[in-house]
Assembly symmetry: C2
């Protein structure tokens, strides 16, 4: 899979990701990569255990250098969120409290609305082993939690950041069904093209005695046409199938194309 | 964050995840963990480079043992998908072809509908370095791709599996705003409780000469009430705020609670 590509648009901005006392440089790097994947760029660290900068983090970031280079380190969570207007705390564990609890979809939509309105926002993620303290959660405006398997709720920190970054990206899309690339356009066949194919194959089969007994011919034709009417073929697909019928019709195993005196080519309109 | 918890429901089932020639055991383990997080359980490997079983995979799976124990290994992709009815291929790179290309949301909804209809489904993920070959993609029914940052499109395999697993979980939810736990219910304050608080704080301030000059008193009261009307307080919050006003009203820095002959407690209705 491709890495950074300077010809393509590099998305930045969005909420700050704030890691509270992260322990492993590798995790910080994987967080940076996950952010970059989905267009976030501002990473803040509160008291990273192994200090900063971290070569392990840079290596694990897989070239998300713009995120790593922009990291800011703070001594306290209060300092790290001082300039923000609205902050989410992520948690996997149920917290008994009064703060609103949001799904990632709702949280991302809320962050997008506030970002668009000019507010500075952030999302807090806790330590690898035990997350955020209640006092840290208390500094946030709202809680966001993930719809996990009840018996297997443990998400690692980079995965939690990935999901929020992904929902952030989606919150900016008008259509969640949109994809970055599309299949090659194919013109759907007209009914004339489809019926031309029916006649072609039916004629070739009829000449071989396929429709026996004669009384069953209408039903056999019905069945055959039903198969080829089940989905809408493209004009090109019809053309390919006519080429196949042509090939069966004109040549045999003992008398293949090119082996006979009759060097008539497969007709142009049915070749692809 | 919590690991497996046998008292809670363990979600299983859903589409098979098929890794084609995965290289690192750690990645296979992280894939298993991501699947378990969002209720998938069937993992198939095509020619894992370092063989199977893998202690590195089990360790990285962080106790997703039910996924690791159920792994099935195949020599070819054809064998791995033989019993399936419908298969997605994941790709980060644009593929020039005719296959439908879907977003994760649409793909997960499609998989959910087919799963509910009794079909066997699967999702193919390629090698860490270079994904799936065109021939492998050709074996799938449709393509799924992620809405990534155009200049930083490289997702690692466990992250790609995590996103599809997460969307699978969401496709089974009626409401994408639902959360596994909710805040403690608080009864909203009545207007009588709110107005009682207004009178309480205004009386205490008036006794201290806060409303000066007298002519500005109505405007000052307006401003004060506007602050406390901006959002709906709960009955409990009103009670806490009355306790605060009471404390300011009855005691001073030089004469704090408990230091005076007047040992009258803060009235019950305003304590929390």
């Amino acid at each position: 899979m491709a890495g950074t590509n300077s010809e393509r648009e590099l998305l930045t901005g969005g909420p700050a990701i704030i890691l509270v006392e992260p322990q492993l440089g590798e995790n910080i790097g994987m967080v940076a990569r996950a952010m970059a994947n989905f267009g976030l760029s501002e990473l803040r660290l509160v008291n990273p255990r192994d200090g900063w900068p971290s070569e392990k983090a840079r290596s694990a970031a897989s070239k998300a250098d713009h995120v790593i280079d922009g990291v800011r380190v703070f001594n306290t969570l209060e300092d790290a969120i001082a300039d923000l207007n609205f902050v989410y705390a992520t948690t996997a564990r149920e917290r008994y409290g009064f703060k609103p609890v949001r799904s990632p979809v709702v949280a991302a939509d809320t962050l997008r609305a506030k970002f668009t309105g000019g507010e500075n926002t952030g999302i807090l993620f806790g330590r690898e082993r035990w997350g955020l303290t209640n006092e840290e959660v208390a500094l946030a405006d709202e809680i966001v939690t993930f719809p996990v398997n009840p018996a297997f709720a443990s998400l690692n920190i980079a995965q939690a950041v990935l999901l929020m970054s992904y929902e952030w990206m989606k919150s900016g899309m008008e259509d969640h069904g949109a994809t970055p690339f599309q299949p090659i356009e194919q013109r759907p066949a007209t009914k004339e093209e489809l019926i031309g194919f029916f006649h072609h194959i039916e004629d070739a089969l009829d000449a071989r005695g396929y429709f026996r007994p004669e009384g069953k011919k209408p039903k056999m034709i019905d069945n055959l046409r039903a198969i080829f009417s089940r989905r809408a073929f493209s004009a090109q697909e019809i053309s390919v199938m006519r080429g196949v019928v042509n090939c069966f019709d004109r040549y045999s195993r003992t008398n293949p194309r090119g082996s006979t005196a009759d060097e008539e080519a497969i007709s142009d309109d049915s070749r692809e």
